[in-house]
Amino acid sequence: MEDLLLKLRGIVVEVNEVFEKVKKLFVDELGIEEDKVTMEAKLEEDLDIDSLGIVEVVMAFEDEFEIEIDDEELTDVGTVGQAVNLLHSKL
């Protein structure tokens, strides 16, 4: 039981790290206001990231995390949290 808790805590820490990195990218690279970047924030409605912006976001993620993201993987990504989870799963 304790092992499981420790493991869960570890995942939470990792997710938080990914979120902080994502947040920094959104603020520094895309010029989005820091306060707006929350796990719940919707990319299009809340952060004003349109279809062209998504391509930029993906490029920024790929560079930052040294991964590759296929277009199909983005189908279900509509919020910052979903993006963070996708990135976390690929690390």
Binding site: L30, G31, I32, D48, L52, V55, E56, M59
Partner: protein
């Protein structure tokens, strides 16, 4: 049926002299130069190290970083100038302008800086790293689209790319749109931010630019014997044009009337003007005729006056052909001596200068004109502005490609 009359009711500008109409005009009539050593990039490898750059403009501060980074600088400047022009015309910039308003912008080389950046990224990092915004930044119609989006302009839109005649043609085509009843109002602009290491290098290769690196402010000397080429400039100027009826109904002040437009093509050489300025002659004659005026009526000519040996000589010859002996009496000036050559933004800027000259009864000077050239022997208003009542002004713009756009503006 008489043609609808077209008026100018709003002006906005950002250019090497100033970031609004008032500051710009003050400097124009004082004869100040906006040309200086280039600060936005390293010029060590280039034969020319100066230009007319826009100063004190921070796009991130003006429109927010998220929006600014989506736009090429030429479009950032277009939005900045449009905002001033719309407010000046007493229009609400928070409301969409709708389908009865058109937009016509002129530019020479569009988002060339963004093009260069994308090519650099492609070469260094491959296709998958190209900025996804590159296409929408570099396309020449980017300013037209971005300004339309910003202010909800839903009527017809055109982007004109006749090089240095582009925004003179824009003013002319907008006049036709209004005159023909297609729309009641057109947001007309000229924009250019094409001063990059590559363009400086390329223009220098065809010996088009002045190389007076030691004295940037004195480098642009239209009609002077020692002139040695034009000086690159950047900026955007926007005019709100509408039918006289629309302006009267809205109860706004009128700067002046866009009375005549003449457009011709040299069909002679891709850079050199036709000998004696044949295409320019016909464009001036057509513009005067379109305004239902005669050569006797023209009080002031804002010349194309680029400061290249070929332009100034041929433009002078063309003016003599059009006006005969009266050519020696007309006040002429080239404000490019102060701004540099705004390329596709020049026609709109010089249209603004022409209507302000009419409104304020002042002719801005041609600065740096100290040694007259025997082939350029007209009244070019050297070095100091003069006061004079101007009822009719003409503005000349000629572009690489052989494009000639001439406009006639009237006081009433």
């Amino acid at each position: 049926m008489s043609k609808r009359r077209v008026v100018i009711t709003g002006l906005g500008t950002i250019n090497p002299l100033g970031n609004n109409v008032t500051d710009t005009w003050d400097k124009l009539i004082k004869g100040e130069s906006g040309i200086d050593t280039i600060t936005s990039f390293e010029t060590n490898e280039l034969p020319v190290s100066f230009a007319g750059e826009v100063k004190n403009f921070d796009a991130n501060e003006y429109m927010g970083k998220q929006q600014a980074r989506k736009l090429d600088k030429s479009s950032q400047l277009s939005i900045f100038a449009t905002e001033e022009a719309l407010k000046d015309a007493n229009l609400n910039t928070d409301e969409r302008l709708g389908p009865n308003v058109g937009i016509v912008f002129g530019t020479g080389i569009g988002g060339i800086g963004s093009t260069e950046q994308a090519v650099r990224t492609f070469d260094e990092r491959g296709a998958s790293r190209i900025n996804p915004l590159a296409i929408t930044q570099l396309m020449p119609n980017s300013s037209t689209g971005q300004v339309a989006i910003q202010y909800g302009i839903e009527g017809p839109s055109l982007t004109i790319t006749t090089a240095c005649a582009a925004s003179a043609n824009a003013v002319g085509e907008a006049k036709n749109m209004i005159q023909n009843g297609i729309v009641d109002m057109v947001v007309v602009g000229g924009t250019e931010s094409g001063t990059t290491p590559m363009t400086i290098g390329a223009f220098a290769q065809i010996r088009a630019l002045s190389t007076n690196n030691e004295n940037p402010k004195e480098a642009c000397k239209p009609f002077d014997k020692d002139r040695d080429g034009f000086v690159m400039g950047e900026g955007s100027t926007v005019l709100i044009m509408e039918s006289e009826e629309s302006a009267l109904k809205r109860g706004v002040d009128i700067y002046g009337y866009v009375a005549g437009y003449g457009a011709t093509t040299d069909a002679y050489h891709i850079t050199a003007p036709a000998e004696g300025g044949k295409g320019a002659v016909l464009a001036m004659q057509n513009a005067i005729k379109d305004a239902d005026l005669s050569t006797e009526d023209i009080d002031y000519i804002n010349a194309h006056g680029t400061s290249t040996p070929a332009n100034d000589k041929n433009e002078t010859a063309a003016i003599k052909t059009v006006f005969g002996p009266k050519a020696y009496e007309i006040n002429i000036s080239s404000t490019k001596s102060m701004t540099g050559h705004l390329l596709g933004g020049g026609g709109a800027f010089e249209s603004m200068v022409s209507v302000l000259a009419i409104q304020k009864s002042i002719i801005p000077p041609t600065i740096n004109l100290n040694n007259p050239d025997e082939e350029c022997d007209l009244k070019y208003t050297p070095n100091a502005a003069i006061e004079k009542v101007i009822k009719v002004a003409m503005s000349n713009s000629f572009g690489f490609g052989g494009h000639n756009g001439v406009l006639v503006f009237k006081k009433d």
